[in-house]
Amino acid sequence: MLPLLVAAMSFLAALAMAGALAAASLAAHWQDGAASTVTVQVPNPEQPTPRRADAPDETRLDAVLRVLRTSQDVSTARPLSARELGELLRPWLGAAAETASLPLPAVIEVHLAPTADEAALGKALAEVAAGTTAESHGVWVGRLSVLALSLQACSWLALLVVAVVAACVVMVATRAGLASRRDAIEIVHGLGATDGMIAGRFAKRITRLTALGGFLGAASAVPVLFVLTDLAAPFMTRPPQHGPSEAAWLAQPIWMLLPLLPVVAGAIGFLTAQATVRRWLQALP
């Protein structure tokens, strides 16, 4: 029974660990990637700007791109293609998104420099193409990051609870073992066995059972984690590769931590059994 209970705990621990690591990866992705991103929308992008001597045919989009690409506040500026805009609109307009002749603004994906002054940049853009807006993702990224960190904290907390419950399960099992072997323990105690000897015998057996449970739990979590990581792939920093390079997935932290579960389960079993038996033996002279 003990290996099965520990296997269940280990399975939950694997999921909690995966959750914590996924949340950490998401938070890093959002903070590193999207925090410095600004979406610039240019209404009527093909309309000409007020004539300039050096650029008589410049459109509003060209003018905005020129400002962005010469600004020290901007690392990169990339206008989205018609196909990418269509992809963005597809959820709302369906298949007609790319063919419908709607007056769409041009959308530019801008990555800001670390010390960028967003307000000044927005003002400069509005001067060359009136109505141009720059929407920062910072607020949403901040909220999402807090959410991801909360999820991460919950996952680690769940992991801690699982470890404590596993220790309690081991303690109950050890006490049951002590109660059922009380006569034998009193005999070997009377023959001169030390607390360390008796606790060691119990701990050895419990360690073997809990490590087996840990292995079973970790093994049963593998297929579930494969499915979950596949589902989470689009949200991760480095999406998984399918096919021959799928082994690269095994470098992910969860795959490195998973083999430790039997070791940790065994360690919890060993320490809990030792403490439980030694405390129980204190009742003997």
Partner: protein, 223 residues
């Protein structure tokens, strides 16, 4: 070897403490000595034997065993002393999942003796009690007398300084009882201090020796 001075014992502690089972017990057994411990059932013989086996500590008074004050000794000091005490119980107290060989080997394994020495010593003990051909049997596969012989072999295999036997003939027929008493006498002649608790006056009469007499938890005779 054994010295008791006004020893008292009660089970339980604090508000759950029961009445005193043993009161003001004082006696001395020299190294290599022999004592019968007599008295009717309920006189406190088994409690006194458990005190001498270090399975209990005295509630009051002073108990010295092999030069150690048991009441004052640290708990971690007692296992080493217990390894020098052999104990034979009326109900044998063998471990049911172990063979006769492994039951006899138990004190030596606890004392961390080398496995080669264990095999030799246990083999010799099983020959001595006539159970060589039953070394692999578990207690449930042995008769009462055979189990008692395994228990005796276990008690003496470590060549204890002190051998305690609590009603050792209680489950034996007369022939086995006589043989057991010869074994205990032989060990005593070899220098082991022996204390045998019994309520069987006929047994004591057949094997005369110095005797302690307990009644209602008090020592009423020593000599």
């Amino acid at each position: 070897m054994i010295r008791l001075e006004n020893v008292g014992l009660r089970y339980g502690a604090g508000t759950k403490a029961g009445p005193e089972i043993l009161r003001d017990i004082s006696f001395y057994v020299a190294p290599g000595g022999f004592r019968w411990l007599q008295g009717p059932s309920g006189a406190g013989k088994s409690s006194l034997m458990r005190l001498l086996q270090l399975a209990l500590r005295p509630g009051r008074g002073r108990l010295m065993v092999m030069g150690t004050d048991i009441g004052a000794a640290e708990r971690r000091a007692l296992p080493e002393l217990r390894q020098r005490i052999g104990m034979v119980f009326q109900d044998f107290r063998l471990l049911g999942h172990l063979s006769a060989f492994d039951n006899v080997a138990l004190p030596l394994r606890i004392a961390r003796r080398p496995e080669g020495q264990i095999r030799a010593d246990v083999g010799e003990m099983l020959r001595w009690v006539g159970l060589t051909d039953k070394a692999d049997r578990r207690p449930a596969q042995l008769s009462g007398g055979e189990q008692q012989r395994v228990a005796i072999a276990r008690a003496v295999v470590g060549r204890p300084s002190l051998l305690l036997a609590d009603e050792p003939t209680g489950n034996l027929d007369d022939g086995q009882a006589v043989r057991l008493m010869r074994l205990l006498g032989e060990l005593n002649r070899l220098g082991t201090t022996v204390v045998v608790a019994t309520h069987n006056d006929a047994l004591v009469a057949r094997h005369p020796g110095p005797s302690l007499r307990l009644e209602a938890g008090m020592l009423v005779g020593d000599g």
